[in-house]
Structure formats: structure tokens, C-alpha cells
Amino acid sequence: MNLRAETGTFLRTVWGRAYPRVIGMQREKSWMLFDVFLPLLQVAAYVYIYRAIGAPPEFTGFVVLGGAMTAYWMNILWNMASQLYWEKDMGNLELFIIAPTSRMAILLGMAVGGIFATTIRAMGVLVAGILVFRVPMAPTSVPALIGVFLLTLVALYGLGMLMASLFLLWGRQAWHIANLFQEPVFLVSGFYFPVRALGFLVALGASIVPITLGLDAMRQLLYPQMMEGFRFLSVGVELGMLAVLGAVFLFLAHRALRFFEALARREGRLTLRGQ
């Protein structure tokens, strides 16, 4: 196949896999309502905790921003990392394998669709949180804020693609491992409080999850005064680290997909269902 045809197939695959998430997931309107409403319940509870202990109003902003970003982490766990497990369970994985296209394109399509669908939900949580709890927000630099956000997403979905490859080998473990990565990551990445509170070394270790860096940078840009005492790294350094993480994760995802697919073929795990 020549390069043009290959590129065409790649792009069609990306769109084909993104389609159910870009279009399909929006068809059931109640899902979107629940996807916004459920994180809001958690956000509201944490906002009231901060109010009960007399925290400054900026902490409400920390929680609302963290709550909105949980949508992305949940999407990574359940719709990226675990996706190939779901596909295996539904009998689609073998179709993916025999399809005359790149598996990376399939992963990329999952990521593109996931970013789109999740952004709608995360924005819903953010806007509702800002309106309901009257969150003060005054970004020092909107372009920097957008840049941090986009780089966070690239690195995060790169990690998601890598995790999808690793999860290829698993059966029911995939479900449990994804479940295990919820609260502990909410904790070490500082979804609901500045990550610096955990200490520099823990925050550094947690930076393997790009949201750790992204949240810290976004909070610095939104609440510079409040974050003076809680800053983990400077925004510039965090942007650089996010860019490196994005490139590394995408490269590793490509390598891991090949390796784990070959391993799963050898061990007969690609078609093992109902585990």
C-alpha cells in the first residue's frame, strides 16, 4: 500500500473509532446529564467540607477544577485503559485484530473521541460548579491556561493509550485494576487539594499522571496568590514536563501495543471471554 492510501486508512480508522464517542455517546441525553450531575455531587460534598472547616473561597475553585478533571481520569481508566478488555468481552477485539488497519489508529480514535465526549462533560461540571458555588476565577494568562490544558490532555491520553496496551493481557483484573486507580490517584495527584501538601517527592512521583502537573499549573494560573504557598513547580517547568510526558507516552504506547499484542496472541488471551 502506498503512503497516501495508508494515511487515508489511518485517518478513516481514527474517525471510525472516534465516531461512537463523538456522535453515539451524545445520543443518550440522560447519560450526559448523569455524567455532569454525578461528579457534581462529589464536588458539592467536598465544597461543603471546605466551608465547614472555614477554608478560603479559592479552595472551592480547587475542588471544582479537580472535580471537572476527574471526568478525564475516569475516561482514561474506563474508556481507554479498559476499553480493549470491554471489546474482548463483547467479541469485538478479534475484529479489530483482523481489520486491515493500524491498531494505533484505533487507539488514537478512542482517544480523540474520548477527549471530545469528556470535554463536554467536564465543561458541564466546571460551568455548573462555578455557577452553583459562585467560584471566583481570574486567570493571569488565558493562552497559558489553554496551553497547559491541551498539553495535559495530550500527555494524559498518551498515557491512556499506553495503559490500553498493558490492559490487553487482562481479563477481570482489568476492571479491578481500573477501579483501584481511582481514589489513590485522586489522592496523590491532588484532585481536591494542592498536590504540594503531600510533599515534594510524592508530588514528583505522582507527576507520572499528567493531571498532577496540569492541575497544579492551572491552579497557579487561576489563583496565583493562594498558590504561592502551595506551588509544586513553576508553570514553565510543568509545561515542559507535560510535553516530554506526552511524547514519551505516545512512543511507549506504540511499542507496548506491538509487544503485548504479540504476547496476548501467543498466550491465547485475545479471544478469552467471560472471565
Binding site: W31, A45, Y48, A52, D89, L187
Partner: protein
């Protein structure tokens, strides 16, 4: 069928379902990883609250609100586990394993079968709650002197509350029988609403008046109030301070009875509808 045969069938269903639930929950990995998995999640959840508190309190854990938050959060582990543990079985057996139709074809009591499946989750939640509380006492220095704990109240409130949660789980199970792709949201929504409205991690008094009124109508509010009074000696909610402990337990007991009746009636109704509409073997590929 005689009452004795029916009773035997119900007991067998409960026992076998509990064993099956335990196998499904635990046999996906080795015991060590399973133990880590069972403990890490709840402890991490508790630590989120600890650090939220520490960031604002700048290191001090002496405030009376801290034990309130910690104990409430520890016992809330049961809410998610029991509610979701029971209601999720319907979707798991119907769509994942495709076994629900066989359950209805077999000589078992589906009601006690669902309770049995939830029992495994309850056992895991008991371990997680205990470890979280021990962590709070041992590491964070929360004062719960065993000599001052009202063990009778603790045991009574725990049993009543777990029964109430199990019946709520059956209500959700009934709703799950009739829904295709909303079961996860329904369970999470109810658990999330209870987290917000039942004074789990902050006193009811902090909520706006209308939400406070809703909270006062929920059994979980009285369950947590009774548990805190038994463990900490004080429920911590100004809004419930005028109620004696006996009244709190009575309200919990009455609401448990109401939930029991409502769950049986609703589940039977849902079953009838599901039979009629052919929903027992529905496959939504979800």
C-alpha cells in the same frame, strides 16, 4: 410449596450466592493483591479528606470536626459496597455472564440470592471500614478509647443500617431489572446523593435549609448519627442534637422496616414487568 421448603430454598440461595459473590470478588487475583486492593481504595479515600483538612488547618488535627469527618467517611464505605453490591448483580448476571434467566429457571429465591451476592461486598467493606478506623486511631490519633465506645449501640445501629442499605440495594436492583443502560448511574447517583445529604463528611448544619430537610428524611443520616454517638460519644450534628439516642435508633429501625416492605413490593412489581416485557435476558452490550 410449604413454608418450610420455601425457607430452605431461601437459605440455600443466600448461602450459595454469598459463596459465589465471594469467588467473583476475590478469585481474579492472588490473596495478597486482593487484600491490598481491598484496603488501598478506602484508605486513599480517607486520606483525601485528611489532606483536605490538613491543607486548611495547617497541620493540626485537633478540631472536633476531624473525627466527625473521618468516622463518617469510614462507615460510608458500606453504603457504596452494599448498595452497588446488590444492585449491580442484576446487570452482571443478566448482561456480563448471561445467567439471570437461568437464575429464574432454577429453584432459588432471587430476593435472597441478591442479598447473598451483596454479602460478599459487605464482608469486604467490613474489613475496609475496620482498617480505615484503625488507621485513624493508630496513625492520625483519633480518640476512640475502646472503654468509652457504646458497643451495644454500635452493633445495633450497624445491623439496622446494613439492613436498610440492603433493602435500598434491592430497590435499586428492581429498578435495574427495568432499565437498560442506566443502572450504573442510578446506583452512583443514589450513593452520591447520600454522601452529600446524609452528613457523611460534614455536619448537616452546613447544608442550605432545603437540602438539610432532605437529609433529615434519609435513614443513612440517622444511621451515621447513631454510629458516631456510639464511637465518638457525640453525633456532631446540631440539627439532630435535640433527638435522644433512643429516638435516633427508633427512626432508623422504623425506616428500615419501611424500606423492607417497599423493596419487596417494588422488586416483585419490577419482576412482573420484566417478565412481561422479556427483560430478564436483555442484552444491551453494555
Amino acid at each position: 410449596m410449604t413454608a418450610r421448603v420455601r425457607g430452605g430454598e431461601s437459605w440455600r440461595s443466600l448461602r450459595v450466592a454469598a459463596w459465589l459473590g465471594w469467588q467473583i470478588e476475590s478469585n481474579w487475583t492472588d490473596p495478597f493483591l486482593f487484600a491490598v486492593y481491598s484496603v488501598v481504595k478506602p484508605v486513599a479515600g480517607a486520606l483525601i479528606l485528611v489532606f483536605m483538612y490538613l491543607v486548611v488547618a495547617r497541620g493540626g488535627l485537633e478540631n472536633h470536626l476531624f473525627p466527625y469527618i473521618f468516622v463518617g467517611n469510614a462507615f460510608y464505605i458500606y453504603v457504596g459496597a452494599v448498595l452497588m453490591g446488590i444492585s449491580w448483580v442484576v446487570i452482571d448476571d443478566r448482561e456480563h455472564y448471561g445467567m439471570l434467566k437461568y437464575m429464574y429457571a432454577a429453584p432459588l429465591n432471587i430476593y435472597t440470592y441478591l442479598l447473598g451476592r451483596g454479602a460478599a461486598q459487605t464482608a469486604i467493606a467490613t474489613v475496609a471500614t475496620t482498617i480505615t478506623l484503625l488507621f485513624g486511631v493508630g496513625v492520625l490519633g483519633i480518640q476512640i478509647p475502646p472503654g468509652q465506645v457504646d458497643w451495644g449501640l454500635l452493633a445495633g445501629a450497624l445491623v439496622l443500617g446494613l439492613a436498610a442499605l440492603a433493602f435500598m440495594g434491592l430497590l435499586l436492583g428492581g429498578a435495574t431489572l427495568l432499565t437498560a443502560r442506566h443502572n450504573y448511574f442510578i446506583g452512583q447517583g443514589v450513593a452520591g446523593a447520600l454522601y452529600l445529604l446524609s452528613g457523611v463528611v460534614f455536619p448537616l448544619d452546613v447544608l442550605p435549609a432545603p437540602l438539610q430537610a432532605v437529609g433529615k428524611g434519609l435513614p443513612v443520616t440517622y444511621w451515621l448519627e447513631a454510629l458516631r454517638r456510639s464511637v465518638l460519644g457525640d453525633g456532631g450534628n446540631e440539627a439532630l442534637r435535640s433527638l435522644s439516642t433512643g429516638t435516633v435508633v427508633l427512626i432508623l429501625a422504623l425506616s428500615t422496616v419501611v424500606l423492607a416492605v417497599a423493596s419487596v413490593l417494588f422488586f416483585r412489581w419490577a419482576e412482573r414487568i420484566a417478565h412481561r416485557r422479556g427483560l430478564l435476558d436483555m442484552q444491551t452490550m453494555h
